[in-house]
C-alpha cells in the first residue's frame, strides 16, 4: 500500500490518531465462481474521519463492504471494527446498502423505515421505548424529512429516499457508518446536503466510509480514500491517493483523460 492513514488529519484535536481504526480490512479475497472480484485487499479506515472507497464500475467496491460485514462469504480475509472482529461488533456498524433491490411499492412508511434502525438495539421482540421514538423523529428531522414521516416510501423522490435510509442508519446510533453509493440517482442539491450532513457527523466523532465514484467531490469533501480495482491500488489521505498516477493505475487506459486535466473536475459520473 502506498501511503498510510496517519498523515495528520486536518481537524485533529479529538485525538483521532490514538483511536483504533474504525474499520480495518485484512487480506480480503473474494471470488464469484472462478473470477476474483477482490484480491488480497488491505485497508484501514481511520476513526473520526470521512473516508471514500473509489474505483471504476465493477471494481468490487460493494463486494468489499458486503464481505467486510460478512454478508457474503470470503475466500480469505478478516475484518476488525474498532479492533474487534466484526461478528462481535454488529451494533457498532450501520450499513446503508445500494438501493437497487428495494421494492418501492412495499407497504411501509418513512417513519417505519427509520424505526427499523432501532429494532436491533432495543431487541427484536421488545416494544420501542419512548426515548427511541423521539430519537427516530430527531433522525428524520436531521435529514430534513420531518414533514414526510407518514408517506409511503415509494411516494418519495430518489433523493428523499436516500435521506430516509441515511436517517435509518443514524437511528442505529453506531459509531461507524458504511454507505454504498449514496449519491447515485440523487439530485445535486440532495448530494450537497448529504455531504454536509456527513461532515457534521464526522465532526461529532463518527467514522464514515462511503463508496463513491465522483472523484471531484472526493477531493473536496473527504479526508481519506481507498482506491480500489480488484486490488487496493492506493490508500491514504485524499490528496495523496487521488493523483494522476494512481488514477491511471486504477482506471487503466481510460484514465488518461482524467490524468490530463486532473486539476479540473475529476468527475466520473458513471
Amino acid at each position: 500500500m502506498s501511503a498510510h492513514q496517519d498523515g495528520g488529519p486536518p481537524t485533529a484535536g479529538r485525538g483521532a490518531g490514538d483511536r483504533a481504526p474504525a474499520l480495518e480490512i485484512r487480506r480480503m479475497t473474494v471470488s464469484y465462481g472462478a473470477r476474483p472480484v477482490l484480491w488480497d485487499v488491505d485497508a484501514s479506515f481511520p476513526a473520526g474521519r470521512l473516508s471514500a472507497i473509489v474505483g471504476p464500475n465493477g471494481a468490487g467496491k460493494s463486494t468489499l463492504l458486503k464481505a467486510a460485514l460478512g454478508l457474503i462469504p470470503a475466500d480469505a480475509g478478516q475484518t476488525l471494527v474498532e479492533g474487534r472482529p466484526v461478528g462481535a461488533a454488529r451494533d457498532r456498524v450501520a450499513y446503508v446498502p445500494q438501493r437497487d433491490a428495494v421494492d418501492w411499492d412495499f407497504p411501509i412508511t418513512v417513519r417505519e423505515v427509520v424505526e427499523m434502525g432501532r429494532y436491533a438495539p432495543t431487541g427484536w421482540f421488545r416494544r420501542v421505548p419512548r426515548r427511541d421514538a423521539a430519537l427516530v423523529d430527531d433522525c428524520l428531522e436531521r435529514v430534513g424529512m420531518g414533514d414526510f414521516r407518514g408517506r409511503q416510501i415509494g411516494q418519495l423522490s430518489g433523493g428523499q429516499r436516500q435521506r430516509v435510509f441515511i436517517a435509518r442508519a443514524l437511528a442505529q446510533q453506531a459509531p461507524l457508518l458504511l454507505m454504498d453509493e449514496p449519491f447515485s440517482g440523487v439530485d445535486a442539491r440532495t448530494e450537497a446536503s448529504i455531504l454536509e450532513l456527513l461532515a457534521a457527523l464526522r465532526d461529532e466523532g463518527r467514522s464514515i466510509v462511503v463508496v463513491h465514484h465522483d472523484l471531484g467531490t472526493v477531493r473536496g469533501a473527504f479526508d481519506h480514500a481507498l482506491l480500489l480495482n480488484v486490488r487496493a491500488v492506493a490508500e491514504g489521505p485524499v490528496a495523496e491517493v487521488v493523483t494522476r498516477e494512481t488514477l491511471a493505475r486504477a482506471y487503466g487506459a481510460g484514465a488518461d483523460a482524467v490524468g490530463r486535466d486532473a486539476g479540473e473536475a475529476l468527475s466520473w459520473a458513471g
Binding site: 458486503k66 454488529r90 450499513y95 446498502p97 433491490a101 421494492d103 412495499f106 429494532y119 428531522e141 435509518r168
Partner: protein, 426 residues
C-alpha cells in the same frame, strides 16, 4: 365453537361452513401477505398440489383415511415442497416462478402415480383421496372448526410475535443481514407459515381456490393501506369477510361454497383496484382528467389576459386563433370560466371580470415563480428535503422560500423587469 354456531342466525350446517370460511379467510389473509409481498403469489398453488403425494403417503403408511392423518401427510409434503422451492431458488440459476412450477408439477405427478398405485392395490378404499384436493366446504364438521381455529390463532400469534424481523427481511434483506438477522431462516419460516395456511384451506375450498384465498385479501388490502402493520390485520379482515359472504351467498343459492368465495374475492379485488382512494384506476383517471382540465382552463385564461393586454377584447374564435388551441377546447374552457364568474361578455367579445383578472395574474405569478426556480433555484437554501411541485411551487416550497425566490429573480433581472415579469416569462 358451539356457542358461535348457535349465535348465528343460520341453520347448523350453513353456520359451520360460514365459520369455517371466516377462519380460513383470517389465516390465509394474514399469511398470504407474505407470499404476495415476496412476489411468490403462486407458492400456494405449488404447496396445494404438493399435498397430494403427502395425502397418498399418509394413507399408504397408516392405512387410515381419517382427516387428521391425511392433514399431517399434506402438511409434511407441503413442508418438503416449500424447502425444495427455496433450495432450488437459492442454489441454482432457476428463478422463483420456474422453481414453483417444477415443484408443483413434480409433486403432482408423484401424487398421481401414487394414486394409481393405491387404486391398484387397495381397491375401493381409495375413493376420496383424489377429491381431497378439490375441497368440500359442505363436508366441514364442527370438529374441523376447532382445528382450523387453533391453526389460525397460532399462525396469527406467530406473525404478531415475529412481526419486526419478518418486516425487516421482507423490505430490505441486505439491511436485515447486516443487523444480524438470519435472513434465510426467516425466508423458510415465511414459506412454512404459508404451508400452514394451505393445509387449513385445502379441504375447505380446494387447491386452486386456495391460491385465490391467499392472494385476494393481500392484494385488496394493499390498495387500501400503506403500512404493513395495518395491512396484515386488514387482509385478515377482508379474508374473513370474503369467506363469510361467499359462504352465505352459496348457501342461499345452493351452489358449492369454494367457487363462490373465490368469485366474491375477485370482485372485491376488482373493486379496490378500480376505486381505492388515491390509488385506484378510476381515481387516478379522474385526477388526470381534472389536472388536464385545469391546465386547459388556466391556459385559456392566461391567453385571454394576454390578448386583452395587447388589443381589443377577442371573440372566442379570435381567441382560439391567437392561442393556437382547437376551438372546441377554448369554448369548453370559456364556459368553465364563465361559470366561475370570471368572464364578462360584450356581445361576441369577451372581457375578464375583476376576479378573472386576479385569477389570471395568480396563474402568471405561479409560472414566473417556476421559471425563477429553474433559473435561480440552485441558490436557494431549502430548510429540509422538500421538493418543488411545478403546479404549485408556493405551497410545496413554503412562503419563505417562494418570497426568497422572487427576490432572487428580481435581483437577477437587474430589478428593471419587475413589472413585466409576467410578460417576460411568456
Amino acid at each position: 365453537m358451539g356457542w358461535l354456531i348457535d349465535l348465528l342466525p343460520l341453520n347448523y350446517s350453513d353456520a359451520v361452513v360460514a365459520i369455517g370460511a371466516a377462519l380460513l379467510g383470517i389465516a390465509a389473509g394474514a399469511l398470504g401477505v407474505f407470499a404476495v409481498l415476496r412476489q411468490r403469489s403462486l407458492v400456494g398453488d405449488a404447496l396445494a398440489h404438493a399435498a397430494l403425494p403427502g395425502v397418498c403417503v399418509a394413507f399408504l403408511a397408516t392405512g387410515a383415511k381419517d382427516a387428521t392423518t391425511l392433514l399431517v401427510g399434506a402438511a409434511l409434503a407441503g413442508l418438503v415442497g416449500a424447502l425444495l422451492m427455496v433450495g432450488i431458488e437459492r442454489t441454482s440459476r432457476v428463478r422463483p416462478d420456474a422453481a414453483i412450477g417444477v415443484v408443483l408439477s413434480s409433486f403432482f405427478s408423484l401424487g398421481i402415480v401414487l394414486l394409481t398405485h393405491i387404486a391398484s392395490t387397495n381397491d375401493a378404499n381409495q375413493a376420496g383421496l383424489d377429491t381431497y384436493l378439490f375441497g368440500q366446504a359442505a363436508g366441514l364438521l364442527e370438529r374441523d372448526l376447532d382445528v382450523m381455529a387453533v391453526l389460525a390463532v397460532v399462525a396469527l400469534a406467530v406473525v404478531a410475535l415475529a412481526f419486526r424481523p419478518l418486516k425487516t427481511t421482507l423490505f430490505d434483506p441486505a439491511f436485515a443481514g447486516a443487523v444480524g438477522l438470519p435472513v434465510r431462516l426467516l425466508e423458510i419460516f415465511m414459506t412454512m407459515l404459508l404451508v400452514v395456511a394451505v393445509v387449513i384451506g385445502l379441504r375447505t375450498v380446494g387447491a386452486i381456490l386456495m391460491v385465490a384465498m391467499l392472494v385476494v385479501p393481500a392484494v385488496a388490502a394493499r390498495q387500501l393501506c400503506n403500512r404493513l402493520s395495518l395491512l396484515i390485520p386488514l387482509a385478515a379482515l377482508i379474508g374473513a369477510a370474503v369467506g363469510v359472504a361467499g359462504a352465505l351467498i352459496a348457501a342461499r343459492a345452493e351452489v358449492p361454497t369454494g367457487p363462490v368465495i373465490v368469485l366474491v374475492g375477485f370482485a372485491v379485488v376488482l373493486a379496490t383496484v378500480l376505486l381505492a382512494p388515491g390509488r385506484g384506476v378510476l381515481w387516478r383517471g379522474r385526477k388526470l382528467a381534472r389536472d388536464r382540465r385545469r391546465a386547459l382552463v388556466e391556459g385559456v385564461l392566461v391567453d385571454l389576459e394576454t390578448t386583452i393586454h395587447a388589443g381589443p377584447p377577442p371573440t372566442p374564435r379570435e381567441l382560439a386563433l391567437a392561442s393556437g388551441r382547437p376551438r372546441r377546447q377554448v369554448a369548453r374552457a370559456l364556459s368553465a370560466l364563465d361559470r366561475a364568474g370570471m368572464l364578462a361578455r360584450d356581445g361576441e367579445r369577451i372581457h375578464l371580470t375583476e376576479s378573472g383578472a386576479a385569477a389570471a395574474h395568480a396563474v402568471l405569478e405561479r409560472r414566473d415563480l417556476w421559471s425563477a426556480w429553474l433559473e435561480h433555484g440552485w441558490k436557494l437554501r431549502l430548510p429540509d428535503a422538500r421538493e418543488p411541485d411545478p403546479t404549485d411551487l408556493r405551497a410545496s416550497l413554503g412562503d419563505d422560500c417562494a418570497d426568497e425566490l422572487r427576490r432572487l429573480a428580481l435581483a437577477g433581472d437587474g430589478g428593471g423587469a419587475a413589472g413585466d415579469a409576467g410578460q417576460g416569462a411568456r
